[in-house]
């Protein structure tokens, strides 16, 4: 294979091949290398997508937005987004038909991001979720196609509706038959992202294989030697690519440091689970931020609190666990819980907005979608869902708006329509997704 011609038609397939071994990575755009006249146009910045999920709904008494731009009025819970309100859209009135009418909890969550009906009983079956559709399309250029994080361990077993609780514990599905494992340990997520464990592990495997092939080759007859050498060469070639990729990454690290950018400066989180949920959630957001900034991945999913969550909030002065508290969701206590989780979006969006990229910020090239699986917890009502979008996807998504579809008619207020609209902007053109074949009007 010729050394390198990144613009050749071969480069795509070669990358695809390399991805197999977990060895490619795109590099962060480095200002130190860019002269003013060669700065890439805005479109050249990668677009990123993240979904943040909190189960069991919000306090509806404190959830509303009106107006637009600087004049947008945000209610108490939403007020955590105040500093960024020109960069968000508060979307109200959407719903996911596939998760209505099948009973409460797991059935309200299992198809939230896919719009595909789920199966009862022991064998779980859902649809590929929108974040993974995007990851499959845009993830091949990055170290990881997506990162799937959670602040709460999944649970299994059965709900009274006879749906598996796996549906309550996972929002990201890469295949209809199996949810993606969630990473709850910040330290392991960090290792996956920055030490590129996958490919480092392959390097050590390849090293061994090479040693063995070389030893064998010396014992082989002259006739067999070429066959073994062929193997040896292949191993060496793959390993060389791994190594080259690593060197380029090291170089980029150094350069980033030289211009005092924050890239790769996040300290590795300690092993184990953080005792405090606040610290846990913040670390997860930091990981997403740094992953987006350094373009290690362009898709992230963060389950802050699962459906039927058993998280506790002593720091919010709430005595009950999350799920129990949600049965009285119109209390001040539950408002604090919802506000806490939405503030994670505010934190992450703020962090991304502080990272300049070209003329704007990383946030300007991203879309962060915050949502829950229901609206009014005490009624398990998911006929409308609370959704907040942050980021403008490189100018393709107008922000600073409060959009309300509640009275637009069921056909015109589908979550899957929103997904189609977002997929478009992420460069994934689909005719239909889930139960929708039309884009969301006016988005």
């Amino acid at each position: 294979m010729p050394p390198s011609d990144s613009k050749s038609a071969h480069s795509i397939s070669r990358r695809a091949v390399l991805r197999g071994a977990g060895v490619t990575m795109a590099l962060p755009w480095l200002p130190s290398l860019a002269r003013a006249d060669s700065a890439p146009p805005a479109a050249a910045f990668p677009k990123r997508f993240a979904v943040l999920f909190m189960g069991n709904g919000i306090n509806e008494d404190y959830w509303s937005a009106e107006g637009s731009g600087d004049a947008m009025k945000l209610s108490k819970t939403l007020s955590v987004m105040e500093p960024l309100k020109r960069k968000i859209n508060v979307v109200d009135g959407l719903f996911n038909k596939a998760s209505v009418g099948l009973g409460i909890h797991p059935a309200q969550t299992g198809s939230l991001l896919s719009g595909v009906g789920i199966s009862k009983g022991a064998i779980v079956h859902s649809g590929v979720s929108v974040d993974q559709i995007i990851a499959n399309a845009v993830g091949r250029d990055t170290a990881q196609s997506s990162i799937v994080l959670a602040c709460e361990q999944p649970m299994t077993g059965y709900h009274e509706t006879n749906y598996s609780l796996a549906y309550s514990s996972h929002i990201s599905w890469q295949s209809p038959d199996s949810p993606l494992p969630v990473e709850v340990y910040p330290s392991l997520a960090f290792d996956d992202l920055f030490e590129n464990r996958g490919s480092l592990r392959n390097i050590s495997i390849l090293d061994r294989v090479m040693d063995r092939a070389a030893a064998l080759s010396s014992q082989m007859s002259a006739a067999d030697k070429p066959k073994l050498d062929e193997y040896l060469t292949s191993v060496r070639e793959v390993e060389k690519r791994v190594d080259a990729a690593r060197k380029v990454k090291d170089q980029a690290d150094d350069q980033a440091k030289a211009v005092n950018r924050p890239a790769f400066t996040m300290p590795r989180p300690a092993d184990g689970l953080p005792e405090d949920l606040r610290e846990h959630a913040r670390l997860m957001c930091d990981l997403i931020a740094i992953a987006f900034q350094t373009d290690r991945t362009r898709v992230a999913s963060l389950l802050l609190a699962r459906d039927l969550s058993a998280l506790y909030y002593p720091f919010l002065n709430v005595k009950e666990g999350h799920h129990a508290a949600s049965h009285a969701n119109n209390t001040e206590a539950y408002e604090r819980i919802a506000s806490f989780h939405l503030s994670q979006l505010a934190y992450l969006a703020g962090k991304l907005d502080a990272m300049s990229e070209g003329d704007g910020s990383v946030l300007d090239h991203s879309c962060l979608m915050w949502l829950s699986n229901m609206y009014i917890g005490r009624q398990h009502d998911n006929r409308r869902l609370p959704v907040v979008l942050a980021g403008g996807l490189g100018g393709t998504l107008k922000t600073g708006r409060a959009l309300n579809y509640l009275n637009a008619g069921d056909e015109n207020r589908k979550m899957c329509s929103l997904y189609l609209s977002l997929l478009d902007r992420m460069g994934v053109q689909l005719d239909h997704f889930g139960d929708a074949s039309a884009r969301l009007a006016e988005l």
């Binding site: 299994t156 709900h159 006879n162 199996s178 050590s204 061994r208 007859s221 002259a222 066959k227 005792e275």
Partner: protein
């Protein structure tokens, strides 16, 4: 055949005196000098040795001489006699060379596993058919048409990446057990998948067990009448084995039916009634067997129905102990109820028996489903009371109640209400809702599993079965850690109930402890105990229930911790066994040390968990050339401590350049030949014992392997490559609008037919000639319909052997739809392609490729002006085309009775009658399949058999055939002509010098160097 030269002067002398001068005179003009014609410099052949080296080329030269194609027309032509002399010399030279080098192992290159071999090997190594090579690029075939030789199997960085992915995929499917590892059909990385895998194994085990009472009654009947049924020596055990029921349980059922024991006073009530039904079973007589059997089975079924009814009406019922302030679904309390059920399946509830002197109790109204967290027992009681109402079998003489109760108890002792519970919902044992919760404990929201199979363990399973089932349950908790996960979920989501938080309240994370620490577990226990003690109205059994529950959780967790710690060294041992099997030979000390060192490095240096380190170690084994290459290593031979004893096959005659294969290399060669896969334990044991080279052992092994199901690998890979249908499953040339019958099922069935046929031929040692002349074949529902045969019922997997396929125009390879379809270009037949397939593939006659410009035939038969037959006749009128087409068109024309998808037909797509008469080469006339068979039998049988032998040998040796193989091929042909079976062919190959030996390394190098010259 002797020729004039054989007895004449030596070949060298003839070469100098006759051949070289001839070539100089007639050929040098063009074929010498700086740019010889066709790059063939004949002047360079100065000695016989040089000619020998390129003897195949010289054969071509002789052929063209004989056909007078050379020297070409304007050049001076030699007299015919001289021509013949040269042709004869070449023939003699080759025959002499074949004799001299007969049995030469030839150069068999180190070769990576072909894609098919990779898949079969992973299947046999892991026990799971993962089919990972589907993602690999297609392997190219060698000149003999096979994709299993080092000549064509190459490696590239792209493929290596695929290997890496595949190796990770295998490693991801691994699960660690208490003493080793198993593999699942899907990745075992997510908890739900681990659960799914373990549950499926247990439920499958349950479903495999013989638990149908009727089968035991029939078996008992067969035992009773064993003499009349022609089995005078039968025992209970042998009868049970024949009937595929549990011998242990039959021995428990039998005395209750037949042998009045000490407890005969209990033969009242259900026992008496069942015995009456038993005695009423018909005696065996000469009546039509089928009708009698139906009658017998109906009566056994009635007995079974009676047992099931009685037991379901008298099964014990339990409710969770009541503790004020705790929901009925509280785990410690619910578990107590589940254990009560599980422990009393062989008991009868005396409350369900009605005294005959009292009126029947009123039938209660069926209660509604209980709410969440409420006790399900009251509803169940009303359901069962309704079911039981009016059952006269439950009415007993009041005066004899003790005796009847004892009878019911003994009845229940033999006949449990159920043998096992495989599904459990929240309203257990009411299973009318919550279907599909396999092995579930029926907890609300939190996960949890519960084992309830004591009757199966006690009554049906023998010691091995009990061990197996215990092992599956142990492995379930070991692999899926369900006890721990259940407790953690319960702790965070439900344990708050004890503090009055309601059924869905959890406890906050404990400080300074893990949730699963004994302090936390027992702390919670004490809270529950306090709750139980808080009210005098609480069920007095509650404290015991609570203590038992938390102790069980703690004991299980502690014992699992110990098991996990104790398992790690066992896993390392399993890893070494895995590596040895993957390498198909024992590991050297160094290798075994190296694998362990790598594992420790991953753990200590890279900080991987035990499981991750195991997975990476597996990847490194599967990436080693020792696994993905087949290497005939000398080193392994040196490892063998014992030399072959009394080898039945003499190696004395081996030349200095030839070395016998090591036992392990031979085991692999055998298994990749007959199974396309790795050797099994038995083969490796023989390799270890060093006796695989013994003729008797070798032949016995080959026979054993041919009878094994894995011989399907040979049928698929050898047959598929030889006959060119290996890629038929992806054939897309059929227009499905025009041939709606051609769907995926039919395509799959067409592909399967020759595989079934060849597998059967190999397994049953059928004569080689059956491949052509057989009157039978195999069909499934789709294919039977396609062939117009009587319908075959069942699914697409149901294949039947059709003895009289010839009555429907099928039988043997020739009229199989797969070949007829593959060799049709879509909307018409192609006698050219079909004929070419028969002549080149079946008969092995080399046909030169067509010239670059050939006239196109119309694509659609339905719209063409004349039948294909007539168009071809026109084509053959051109002498340039005729020379080749005359060799094969006729075979295809005889098959015109089959349409483009191999369907029998009398008219073509344009409605013109088809003609199946054909004039075969040398002017023999014939018609249809029978015509082809007759012609082959008369004129071409030897050629077919030679070709079959050559192809199978090339496949077995992983190399293209060479001149030195000719004597073996000739000998095989002679045996097969006499009607010998395929075993003979396999025997001849596996005992041949070329199969048993390898070129020793030095000569391999020389030969290669020579070849390159």
């Amino acid at each position: 055949m002797l020729n004039a030269w054989a007895a004449g002067p030596p070949l060298a002398q003839q070469f100098a005196q006759t051949v070289r001068p001839f070539v100089a005179k007639y050929c040098f003009e063009c074929h010498s000098g700086p740019s010889p014609a066709a790059q063939l410099d004949l002047k360079s052949y100065a000695t016989v040795d040089e000619v020998l080296r390129d003897n195949a080329l010289w054969e071509l030269l002789a052929e063209r001489l004989a056909r007078k194609e050379m020297p070409p027309a304007p050049m001076p032509q030699p007299p015919d006699a001289q021509r013949e002399k040269i042709v004869a010399w070449v023939k003699a030279m080759r025959a002499d060379e074949a004799r001299r080098t007969a049995g030469d192992p030839g150069i068999v290159l180190a070769r990576r596993l072909s894609n098919a071999e990779y898949d079969y090997t992973i299947r046999d190594l892991t026990g799971v058919d993962m089919q990972l090579a589907r993602e690999f690029p297609v392997d190219p075939a060698n000149t003999a048409g096979f994709d299993n030789s080092g000549e064509t199997l190459s490696m590239s960085a792209a493929l290596l990446n695929k290997y890496l992915l595949a190796a990770h995929a295998v490693a991801d499917r691994m699960a660690l057990t208490p003493d080793g590892m198993v593999f699942a059909p899907y990745p075992m990385l997510v908890e739900t998948d681990r659960d799914k895998f373990c549950i499926a194994r247990i439920v499958d085990f349950y479903h495999r067990q013989p638990t149908d009472f009727a089968a035991y009654f029939e078996a008992a009947w067969r035992y009773k009448y064993r003499a009349a049924l022609g089995r005078p020596d039968g025992t209970l055990a042998s009868t049970a084995a024949d009937a595929k029921v549990s011998a242990k349980y039959l021995a428990i059922v039998w005395p209750l039916l037949e042998e009045p024991a000490a407890a005969s006073e209990l033969e009242v009530g259900p026992i008496a009634k069942l015995q009456g039904m038993w005695r009423a079973l018909p005696q065996p007589k000469a009546a039509p067997a089928d009708a009698a059997l139906v009658q017998l089975r109906q009566q056994c079924r009635a007995m079974s129905d009676f047992v099931v009814k009685i037991r379901s009406h008298t099964a014990m019922q339990y409710a969770a102990p009541v503790v004020r302030g705790l929901p009925a679904g509280s785990q410690p309390l619910l578990d107590w109820k589940l254990f009560e059920f599980a422990d009393h399946r062989r008991d009868s509830d005396p409350k369900d028996l009605l005294d005959d002197d009292k009126p029947a109790p009123p039938v209660p109204a069926i209660l509604r489903y209980p709410g969440l967290h409420q006790e399900a027992a009251p509803r169940w009681a009303t359901l069962t009371a309704n079911a039981r109402a009016g059952d006269k079998d439950l009415v007993i003489p009041a005066a004899q109640r003790p005796k009847y109760e004892a009878s019911f108890e003994r009845f229940a002792n033999v006949f449990p209400d159920v043998f096992y519970v495989s599904e459990r919902g929240r309203y257990f044992p009411d299973d009318s809702d919550d279907k599909g919760r396999l092995l579930s404990a029926g907890y609300h929201n939190t996960m949890g599993y519960f084992r309830d199979d004591r009757p199966l363990m006690e009554l049906i399973l023998d010691e091995n079965g009990q061990k197996e089932l215990n092992r599956l349950w142990d492995e379930f908790d070991f692999i899926a850690q369900y006890t721990e996960r259940t407790f953690v979920q319960y702790y965070f989501n439900q344990s708050g109930e004890v503090r009055g938080g309601g059924a869905e309240a959890g406890s906050p994370r404990p400080e300074g402890h893990a949730v699963t620490d004994p302090e936390v577990i027992f702390g919670l226990r004490d809270e529950y105990l306090a709750k139980a003690a808080a009210s005098p109205n609480n069920d007095p059994i509650a404290p015991e229930a609570i203590r038992t529950h938390f102790e069980r959780v703690n004991n299980t967790l502690r014992s699992l911790e110990k098991m996990h710690a104790a398992a790690e060294p066992l896993h390392l041992q399993a890893l070494l066994r895995f590596a040895a099997r993957a390498y198909r030979r024992p590991l050297t000390k160094a290798e075994s040390g190296d694998i362990q060192a790598y594992y420790h490095e991953l753990r200590d240096k890279d900080g991987l968990s035990h499981e991750d380190a195991m997975r990476d170690s597996i990847v490194s084994v599967l990436m080693s050339p020792d696994f993905c290459y087949r290497l005939d290593l000398l080193e392994t031979r040196q490892q063998e401590t014992r030399a072959p004893q009394k080898p039945g096959i003499s190696h004395a005659s081996l030349g200095p350049n030839v070395a016998p294969l090591s036992g392990y290399a031979l085991a692999s060669r055998l298994s990749y030949f007959l199974w396309s896969s790795m050797p099994d334990d038995e083969l490796l044991a023989h390799a270890a014992a060093g006796d695989l080279q013994r003729r008797d052992v070798l032949l016995a092994q080959a026979r054993r392997m041919l009878k094994d199901g894995r011989v399907r690998g040979l049928a698929t890979e050898f047959g598929g490559n030889w006959l060119d249908f290996r890629h038929f499953q992806s054939l897309n040339s059929v227009d499905r609008d025009r041939f709606p019958s051609f769907n995926n099922d039919l395509r799959e069935a067409m592909f399967e037919e020759p595989i079934r046929f060849l597998e059967d031929a190999f397994r049953r040692d059928r004569p080689a000639l059956d491949l052509i002349y057989a009157k039978d074949t195999f069909v499934n529902p789709s294919l039977a319909k396609h062939y117009g045969m009587p319908a075959v019922d069942g699914g697409e997997d149901h294949w039947v052997h059709v003895e009289n396929a010839a009555d429907y125009g099928r039988g043997g390879l020739l009229p199989m739809a797969v070949f007829l379809t593959e060799n049709s270009p879509g909307l018409r037949t192609s006698p050219v392609k079909r004929g070419h397939w028969i002549v080149s593939k079946l008969l092995g006659e080399p046909i030169p490729p067509p010239p670059p410009v050939v006239p196109e035939l119309p694509k659609d038969e339905a719209t063409s002006d004349m039948p294909v037959r007539d168009m071809l006749a026109a084509h053959r009128a051109n002498p340039a085309c005729a020379s080749c087409h005359a060799k094969f068109d006729s075979f295809g024309l005889a098959l015109e009775g089959f349409g483009p998808v191999g369907d029998a037909r009398t008219v073509d797509l344009a409605g013109r009658p088809v003609e199946t008469k054909a004039a075969f080469p040398e002017g023999v006339e014939g018609s249809g399949v029978a015509g082809i068979q007759d012609y082959i039998r008369e004129r071409r049988q030897t050629q077919f058999l030679q070709n079959l032998g050559r192809e199978l040998l090339a496949y077995a040796l992983n190399r293209s055939p060479q001149l030195s193989d000719d004597p073996l091929i000739e000998a095989m042909q002679t045996q097969l002509s006499a009607g010998a079976g395929l075993d003979t062919l396999v025997d001849a190959i596996v005992t041949s010098r070329q199969f048993l030996n390898m070129r020793s390394p030095a000569t391999r190098a020389n030969a290669l160097a020579a070849n390159r010259r």
